[in-house]
């Protein structure tokens, strides 16, 4: 019965599945890019994708657009599961009108975003778009605006992840920038506010697409990309791994996974990672790898501001966020980019109930006019603000140097940190011994018979008296000096103790972080 109607339905459905048509799909493949539906197929669990709005079309008539109607109108939206967990997603379809955004496309995207925030599931966006659909003019721009609005509505409610596997230009780039994590595929993805042609016209500057806004550039220089993936397969792997650490929404606890790693595992070799000479650098990641479950550390923003390390790991099966100085880069000093990188990560962890563990070895902030004029004061304050604002369990471990303002900024006790530990190698002071002596004992050194010997003596005294964790321990700003071999068990026990932490703050609309 109704065989005509069924036939018609099947025909239309098949058409919808063909996106922009075989030729355009082939063109996409020739460029080494997958189609929207292929990407969704790689991302979601087999057979779990449910598409909605597959048969939307635009209703525009200017510029002869009525003859260029395609089902889907350049965006594929729907919901499905990733490793069993519900997600909502939208994927721009480059084979339909270049994946440009129209009024209807924007409506589709905001629809799934609303679903996601109603239901409490993460939102994933796959970007491969020519940008605004010029023909639709202001309708397209307004479409972007409503997407941005929904990005904000969802921010801190459900995790939002952007996979960039094609171009994204002009206003379009701001949606990814507002999401929590951006993954760009090397050699395929580009993001810029103004494209190379306009740059050439206005500034006379000659620059390629990849140089201006490619994945590597955003991974290293601007920090827009949290991850640079080798190819589209890896993009999907990164998203799946990332989601495995996160809860579905901000009311849920992050998932607990059985890792099989003994919570009492000690490592007698940890102390040997720190060189005897405090001026010699070491790789902080070695310490991180030893301590976390199964030596697995999921680093975020690996290429950007490498003087600070951020990422997720598990301790006894629970997700934790790690923030650590990296002595191998800039001696672990803090600067503008690293302050931004760490702050954003801390605030994300705070949104989703992920405890933060901070490992400290920093000589201070980078000096110089470049940093000062670019606003290290403003940017540096973000780090302090974020730590203070975070009410998730916070644990700090001071491994080496912790001087001055940087000591304070790296999750020190009075910023509201719950547990502060230190290794016997910790050196907590306002300044390094040399600098301190130079300032405090300037008069004596100027008038001394043998300034070099006196300096050495004063420096040694200062080091012995102050460059250690015991002064701080005597005041309780370091709760405990621990045996480095026991670091992992100590952190796990602290996390267990703080699991049900709840802090009261005075209600307000929101604070005014110095942006």
């Amino acid at each position: 019965m109704h065989s005509e109607k069924i036939k018609n339905f099947l025909h239309k459905r098949r058409q919808a599945e063909q996106s922009g048509g075989e030729e355009r799909v082939q063109g996409q493949h020739d460029k080494g890019k997958l189609t929207a539906r292929e990407r969704i197929d790689l991302l979601l669990d087999e057979g779990s994708f449910n598409e909605i709005d597959a048969m939307t079309t635009h209703h525009y008539y200017e510029f002869d657009m009525q003859n260029k109607k395609f089902f889907g109108d350049g965006v594929v939206t729907g919901y499905g599961t990733i490793h069993g967990k519900q997600v909502f997603l939208y994927a721009y379809d480059f084979t339909v009108l270049g994946g440009t955004l129209s009024e209807m496309g924007a409506k589709k995207i905001t629809k799934v975003m609303e679903h996601a925030t109603n239901v409490g599931s993460p939102i994933i966006g796959i970007i491969d778009s020519g940008g605004a659909r010029i023909q639709e003019g202001i309708l397209s721009l307004d479409g972007f605006a409503s997407i941005f609005y929904h990005n904000q509505l969802a921010s801190g409610v459900v995790p939002q992840i952007t996979i960039s596997v094609g171009p994204s230009a002009g206003g379009a780039v701001y949606s990814p920038a507002m999401t929590d994590f951006v993954i760009m595929a090397d050699k395929i993805a580009t993001m810029f506010v103004t494209g190379p042609e306009v740059v050439k016209t206005v500034l006379g500057e000659d620059v390629s697409f990849d140089e201006l806004g490619g994945a590597m550039s955003h991974g290293k220089n601007s920090g827009v990309a949290h991850f640079v993936a080798k190819n589209e397969y890896q993009c999907m792997d990164i998203v799946k791994t990332l989601l495995s650490y996160l809860p579905q929404n901000s009311t849920e606890e992050p998932p607990i996974v059985e890792t099989g790693d003994d919570p009492n595992r000690m490592d007698n070799n940890l102390i040997n990672i720190i060189p005897e000479n405090p001026l010699q650098p070491y790789d902080m990641k070695e310490i991180i790898h030893s301590v976390v479950d199964n030596h697995v550390f999921f680093e975020i923003h690996e290429l950007f501001a490498p003087n600070v390390i951020v990422g997720f790991a598990r301790l006894h099966g629970k997700t934790i966020g790690i923030v650590a100085n990296q002595p191998m880069v800039l001696a672990g000093a803090l600067d503008i980019d690293s302050s931004n990188k760490a702050s954003r990560f801390i605030r994300f962890c705070d949104c989703y109930g992920i405890p933060i563990i901070t490992l400290v070895d920093t000589p201070g902030y980078m000096p110089g006019t470049q940093q000062e004029h670019a606003g290290i004061i403003r940017h540096g304050s973000k780090l302090l603000y974020s730590y203070c604002e975070a009410t998730v369990p916070k644990i700090t471990l001071i491994i080496g140097k912790a001087y001055g303002g940087a000591y304070i900024a790296m999750s020190s006790k009075n910023l509201g940190t719950d547990m502060n530990y230190a290794w016997p190698t910790a050196q907590i002071a306002v300044l390094g011994s040399e600098a301190a002596v130079r300032i405090m004992n300037r008069k004596e050194l100027d008038t001394a018979k043998d300034p070099a010997a006196l300096k050495k003596q004063l420096v040694d005294n200062f080091t012995e008296k102050f460059a250690n964790p015991y002064v701080a321990a005597s005041y309780g700003t370091v709760d405990s000096v621990i045996d480095p071999a026991q670091t992992r068990p100590a952190l796990i026990r602290a996390l267990d103790a703080l699991a049900n932490k709840r802090e009261r703050r005075i209600p307000r609309k929101h604070g005014n972080i110095n942006l």
Binding site: K85, T251, P255, N268
Partner: protein, 500 residues
């Protein structure tokens, strides 16, 4: 009878330590184990009557620490030391130290060891005793240029050997000048690291040779016997992989003849206790003496199974001053025994070491199956020590029965956590050439065994492909099971009160 050995300290670790403890238990002798930081959880520590910590992981600070071990023996009240194989077993200074401290060293004297350990001197002693030896370089080579000269003279390929090497280590086959240069440097380094000194010599490489050794025993009363031969021709990088007794090319006449030479060799160096005389057999049947290994060997189980003897017990008896309780004519080979060494090595990475935690072990058993190993689920294979995890030995009334039992046992032997050569052994044991007894030290290369292994593995993979595909298809189900259900949490989302 009061000065019989009552307590033995085993100056070793791993499977050999367990082997000695087993015989101690059988004889009612107390056993003392020693262990490094790395071996705290080892099986030998758990099995001994007493166990003492002797130092850090690195061998030089623990199992090679003569002073510490002797001290531990004395303070624990041990009256004897069994050195196992490797480590201090052929260290003459250690044997002397034990003697000085009044500890009964279960093995030959320090001087005897020195003679056997110095391959050049030993060769001289053999020549004097009219035991035929291999043609090679007239003495030690200390400079790489000299080695190159000799190699050039006798012609490549040549073997670069360490005078103080043992157990196949310190032997390298080189095909040209470049390889010789490289090998010289490394062999030098290895030798210095393991034995404290480096002295190398060059020997012509003879193809298609068989490595045949004779088990020896000599007591304090001068009685000396051989307990048959073992064929150990299947090797790689001059380290034994598979051993068997009897050898397919040794009949009783040859056994008697070469066995007598072996006994002669033992007497020539005034050997005491158990040891092994190694020979090379050329394709034409000529036997050449190589060296005497002044210790109990890894492959001693195959001799035990075809003779019915407990060689560790024999060692202890000899150390107690007893006479060997049988004569040469009383010994008869019974059946056939084959051993496969189960090493933690990756066959396809040129047998590179594979270390780590052993998540699961399944040890084979059944008629004629014996396994000597330190493995148990949850133990660790350490990078600080050698790669031998255990030995799989089978016995049969004839070669074919022993071989069949071995192939079945290999299939049952499951080790999860490190790579092993078990698939390689299966390929070797089922090869036509092995069944026919066409063995030689270049067996693996000659018959391109690794290529055959790759084919066998492909066939095996193919055979499992459908089951593996099924496992792949249900993998997502498996993942869902792993992540605890979040449905219960969604209740919280629904009832959540508005907040900032």
């Amino acid at each position: 009878m009061n000065d019989m050995i009552k307590k033995i300290l085993i100056a070793n670790r791993g499977e050999i330590a367990i082997r000695v403890i087993k015989t101690c238990n059988a004889l009612g002798i107390k056993s003392v184990a020693v262990y490094s930081d790395e071996d705290v959880n080892s099986k030998h520590v758990k099995m001994a009557s007493e166990a003492y910590h002797i130092g850090q992981a690195s061998p030089s600070q623990s199992y090679l620490n003569m002073e510490k071990i002797a001290e531990t023996a004395v303070s624990s009240g041990a009256d004897a030391i069994h050195p196992g194989y490797g480590f201090l077993s052929e260290n003459a200074d250690f044997a002397d130290l034990c003697e000085k401290k009044g500890l009964n060293f279960i093995g030959p004297s320090g001087n005897s060891m020195r003679l056997c350990g110095d391959k050049m001197e030993c060769k001289d002693a053999m020549i004097k005793a009219k035991v035929p030896t291999v043609p090679g370089s007239p003495g030690i080579v200390e400079e790489v240029e000299k080695a190159l000269d000799i190699a050039h003279t006798i012609g490549y390929p040549v073997l670069l050997k360490s005078v103080f090497g043992g157990g196949g280590r310190g032997i390298r086959l080189v095909h040209d000048e470049k390889e010789l240069r490289e090998a010289f440097e490394i062999a030098s380094g290895e030798s210095k690291a393991a034995f404290g000194k480096s002295a190398l010599f060059v020997e012509k490489f003879l193809p298609k040779i068989r490595h045949i050794e004779f088990q020896l025993a000599r007591d304090k009363h001068g009685n000396a016997v051989h307990i048959f031969e073992r064929e150990c021709s299947i090797q790689r990088r001059h380290q034994k992989l598979i051993e068997m007794s009897p050898s397919p090319v040794v009949d009783q006449k040859i056994r008697d003849e070469i066995g007598e030479l072996a006994v002669k060799a033992a007497v020539a160096v005034d050997y005491l206790n158990a040891g092994t005389a190694e020979f090379l057999r050329l394709d034409d049947g000529t036997f050449y003496f190589i060296e005497i290994n002044a210790r109990l060997q890894v492959e001693h189980p195959v001799t035990e199974l075809v003779s019915g003897l407990d060689l560790v017990k024999l060692q202890i008896d000899i150390a107690n001053g007893k006479e060997i309780p049988f004569k040469q004519k009383d010994l008869k080979v019974n059946g056939c025994s084959i051993e496969c060494r189960i090493n933690a090595e990756d066959t396809f990475l040129d047998f590179a070491p594979s270390t780590g935690k052993i998540y699961d072990v399944n040890i084979p058993s059944g008629p004629g199956v014996r396994v000597d190993t330190y493995l148990y689920p949850g133990c660790t294979v350490s990078p600080y020590y050698d790669s031998l995890m255990g030995k799989l030995i089978t016995w049969g009334q004839n070669f074919e029965e022993a071989r069949q039992r071995m192939t079945l046992a290999l299939s049952d032997f499951y080790i999860e956590g490190v790579e092993t050569a078990i698939p390689l052994y299966k390929t070797i044991l089922e090869s036509k050439e092995f069944i026919e007894g066409d063995l030689s030290t270049d067996f693996l290369d000659r018959f391109k065994i690794l290529d055959r292994l790759r084919d066998d593995m492909k066939k095996e993979a193919s055979g499992k492909s459908e089951a593996a595909l099924a496992a792949t298809l249900i993998h997502s189900e498996f993942l869902k099971h792993k992540i605890r259900s979040h449905k219960e949490h969604s209740v919280r989302w629904k009832t959540q009160v508005d907040r900032h």
